[in-house]
Each structure stands twice: as structure tokens, then as C-alpha cells.
């Protein structure tokens, strides 16, 4: 085995280009799917609060599906399965325009939305019933009570879980390599194939992921501390 030489990988323009592109794609996938997941998660919680049992059941099925089917399989179903059901013109357009990334963002976003909606829901349930009564007794409307009194507390309750799931989503971006997205893990395999230096390449990727995950966790922790209701348990 060749001696350990980090620079051989880092300084090589071709390899570093591939790795940097990989990091870029990882972030595109991560941020895209996070935005989708957060907003869809809130929609799901809102739908669940409707007085209809059908709405509640549909969301429950949605959540159950996305939590019990492995994420990789969900990705594959979208990219290999659902894409084949689309009209040919759309399939061609997609393959010219980074279809893999689109499907990756959709699949990961939809999957994570299930988790986020459950976190947000527990957050809401953690707000004591007396808060709702006090808000209504003061004359706040449904929306006013939600906006000023219930949701601020619900979000604070849900934060630890949301942060955890955000980090999971970040790591899950690596799964996109299975459908050909050129994100970091994919780039790492390519570089390793060409440079014959698996140790150095993997190390670089590991450090990138680790630093980013720790940063995300730290960010989440700081947000939690800042927004904690002073002196609250």
C-alpha cells in the first residue's frame, strides 16, 4: 500500500474538483429536501388537526409508510419506479436536467416530512391545555391563539427532535448516490477508484461530514438555548 499522502488527493485538481462538486451537491440535496420536509410537515400537522377522520387517517398512512419503508427503497421507487410511469417527454426532460437530483430531493423531502410532522405534533401536544383556554378566555381568535401562544411553545418543545432529524436528513443525502447523484459519497467512490487512495479519500469525506454534522448539532443546541423560556424546566 502506498504511504499515506493526503496532499496527493487534495492537491490534484481533478480530484479536488470532484470532491468540491460532491460537497456542493450534498448541500443542494440537503437544503432542498429540508425545505420541502419542513413545509410539508407543517401542512401535514395542520391537515391532521382538521375535524375529519379521513384526513387524520390519510396523514397517518402517509407517516406510517415513510417511517416503515427504508429510505433507500423509497429513493429507488421514485427514481426507477415512478419515473417510468411518467410520460416519455417528461422522462427525457428530466434526464437532461439532473433528474436524479430532483427525485432525490423529492424522495428525501417527503420521507423526512413524515418525521418532522410527528415532531411538530408532539411539540403541540406538549403545550398544556390550560394555555389554549387562557388564550381563548382573553378573546384571541383561533389563529391568534395559535400564532402568539401555542405555536411558539410547540416549536420550542419540538426543537430537540427537529434538530436530530435535520442531522439525519443531512446524512441521508449520501443515499442519493445509489441513484447516481454526484454528491460527496459518490464523488468519494469515484476519486478512490481513480487515485487508489481509499484511506485518504474516505478520511477527507469523513471529516467533511463530521464537521458539518457537529456544526448542525451545535447550531441546533444554540437555538434551543436561546429560545428556551427562561427558567423553564
Amino acid at each position: 500500500m502506498k504511504g499515506f499522502d493526503l496532499m496527493a488527493v487534495l492537491l490534484n485538481p481533478e480530484f479536488s474538483r470532484m470532491l468540491v462538486h460532491g460537497v456542493k451537491m450534498t448541500f443542494i440535496i440537503f437544503i432542498g429536501s429540508w425545505l420541502l420536509a419542513m413545509s410539508l410537515g407543517m401542512v401535514l400537522v395542520a391537515v391532521r388537526m382538521l375535524p375529519s377522520r379521513i384526513a387524520d387517517g390519510l396523514v397517518a398512512i402517509y407517516v406510517s409508510y415513510h417511517r416503515n419503508v427504508p429510505t433507500l427503497v423509497q429513493l429507488m421507487l421514485w427514481y426507477f419506479g415512478i419515473s417510468s410511469l411518467l410520460p416519455d417527454s417528461m422522462q427525457m426532460w428530466l434526464s437532461d436536467h439532473n433528474g436524479e437530483s430532483v427525485f432525490a430531493i423529492i424522495a428525501l423531502g417527503l420521507c423526512q416530512a413524515a418525521y418532522f410532522s410527528e415532531d411538530q405534533r408532539s411539540g403541540l401536544r406538549g403545550v398544556p391545555a390550560g394555555q389554549w383556554e387562557a388564550a381563548r378566555a382573553l378573546g384571541h381568535s383561533y389563529l391568534g391563539a395559535m400564532a402568539y401562544i401555542l405555536l411558539p411553545q410547540a416549536i420550542r418543545n419540538a426543537m430537540p427532535a427537529l434538530v436530530n432529524h435535520t442531522v439525519s436528513l443531512f446524512k441521508n443525502s449520501s443515499l442519493a448516490m445509489a441513484i447516481g447523484v454526484a454528491e460527496l459519497t459518490h464523488a468519494v467512490k469515484e476519486v478512490e477508484n481513480q487515485s487508489f487512495r481509499p484511506f485518504e479519500t474516505y478520511l477527507i469525506a469523513t471529516l467533511v461530514y463530521l464537521v458539518c454534522s457537529l456544526l448542525l448539532m451545535w447550531l441546533g443546541h444554540t437555538l434551543e438555548q436561546r429560545s428556551r423560556m427562561a427558567g423553564a424546566a
Partner: protein
């Protein structure tokens, strides 16, 4: 509709492959491999995780820091990358080539042990301090108190979380696909490569199979949870029952 019919046909024609892979003409695969990987993975990870949890709680830095570091790294790096690492490092360490199944098993054991150790640690810390005090007052050593008083209670309370981690493990076996472990997802890939014209049906079958397995396991978990909650309210305090009984799976794949 026609799709449902073709799904039936696919299952009818390929059920053996999905069930046991190419055995006996090859290694055991399909859903059997998935189950064996998951069960072995969790079973071997469990004792390791208890040791790691005890180390993380020990008063000696030499034990605490390495374990805490391992847990952080495992939580911060994607499982896929860890699989690639093990795939590369293991043959070098042992000096001979390692079949993909074994690589996957070793990875899962390490990965699950790290996550399980956090669960066990939380379970131990959730017990009221009075338990340790009472055990030590009776003359038990630290390890003795752990063995006879703390761990039995903590582990019992943590059964739903441990089962939940098991469900995660089942889902994580799918990543073996990347290094060609012959489990269920790999089998589905093989079928798809052969048929080529019915990807949706094949992958839908795959999704439903996992859904059925994991959903049933989750059902078992809720039943177990209820039984435990009934037992809990009699003896343990609010501190222990304040823990969420099934935290959303820590590894989240």
C-alpha cells in the same frame, strides 16, 4: 388493474429469489439474509452497547472519552460512508478478503452498538438516584449495583427503544446494496435488471415487503410498550416515565 396483475406475476415467478436469494447456488440472500443480518446485528451489538454505556458513565476519562468520541463520529457520519470504510479496512486488518455479508454485519454491529449505547445510557440515567444510593448503602460495589439493581431495571424500561432500534436496523440492511450484499433490495435489483420493463411493480413490491415487516414489528413494540407502562406505574417514579417510550429511531434511515 394490469399493474396489480403484473405484481402478482413477478412475485409468483420470483418468490424464491426474494425469499432466500440464490441459495443453494450462492450465498443465502433475499429476505432471509435481511432478517439474519438484522437479528445478528442487534444481538451482537447489544452486549457491546451495554459495555459502551457503562464506559461512557464511568468516572475514568480514559474510558469515557474514546467511547464518547466513537458515538459522536457514528452519529455524524453517514452509514454509507462507514460501510465503505469497513469494506476497505477489514480485509487489510485481517489479511484476507471478506465476503460482503460479513462486512455488512461487522458494520451494523458497530453502528448499532453506538446508537444502542446512547439508549442504554439514557435508561440508566433515568432511574432515580435513590436506587444507586440504596444499592451502595447495602454494600454493593459500583459494578455490583449496576449488575443487580440498575441494569435490570434500565434495560427493562428500554425494551421499546431497543426494539425500535431493531426496526431501524432492518431498514439499514438495505444499504448493503451498495457493496452487493445479497439481501432483499439486492434481489429486487436483480429482478429489475432481468425484467427491465416493470420497474415500478418490482420496487413497489420491495417497498411493501419492508413495510409489512417493519409495520408488524412496530405493532409489537406498541403492545410491549403498553405492558411495560402498566408495570412501570406501580414501581418507578415520574423521572423514568418522563422518557419517551419510543424515541424516533436514533439513526433515522
Amino acid at each position: 388493474m394490469a399493474m396489480l396483475q403484473s405484481m402478482f406475476e413477478i412475485v409468483r415467478d420470483n418468490w424464491l429469489l426474494l425469499l432466500v436469494g440464490q441459495y443453494p447456488n450462492g450465498p443465502l440472500g433475499g429476505i432471509s439474509a435481511t432478517i439474519i443480518l438484522s437479528v445478528l446485528g442487534i444481538a451482537l451489538a447489544f452486549p457491546l452497547s451495554v459495555l459502551m454505556a457503562l464506559a461512557a458513565l464511568s468516572p475514568w476519562r480514559a474510558l469515557r472519552w474514546p467511547v464518547t468520541a466513537i458515538v459522536y463520529v457514528t452519529r455524524g457520519v453517514p452509514l454509507l460512508l462507514i460501510i465503505l470504510w469497513v469494506y476497505f479496512v477489514l480485509p487489510v486488518l485481517i489479511g484476507q478478503s471478506v465476503p460482503a455479508f460479513t462486512t455488512m454485519l461487522v458494520t451494523l454491529v458497530g453502528y448499532e452498538a453506538a446508537f444502542l449505547s446512547e439508549i442504554v445510557r439514557a435508561g440508566i440515567q433515568a432511574l432515580p438516584k435513590g436506587q444507586t444510593d440504596a444499592a451502595r448503602a447495602l454494600g454493593h460495589s459500583h459494578l455490583g449495583a449496576m449488575r443487580y439493581v440498575i441494569l435490570p431495571q434500565a434495560l427493562f424500561n428500554m425494551i421499546p427503544s431497543i426494539l425500535s432500534q431493531f426496526v431501524s436496523t432492518v431498514k439499514e440492511t438495505t444499504l448493503g446494496y451498495i457493496i452487493n450484499v445479497p439481501e432483499l433490495t439486492f434481489a429486487a435489483g436483480q429482478i429489475n435488471n432481468r425484467l427491465l420493463t416493470k420497474p415500478f411493480e418490482v420496487y413497489f413490491i420491495l417497498a411493501i415487503s419492508y413495510y409489512v415487516v417493519c409495520w408488524s414489528l412496530t405493532l409489537v413494540i406498541s403492545v410491549v410498550e403498553r405492558r411495560i407502562a402498566a408495570r412501570r406505574t406501580s414501581s418507578l417514579t415520574a423521572a423514568a416515565s418522563a422518557l419517551p417510550a419510543t424515541p424516533a429511531s436514533a439513526s433515522g434511515t
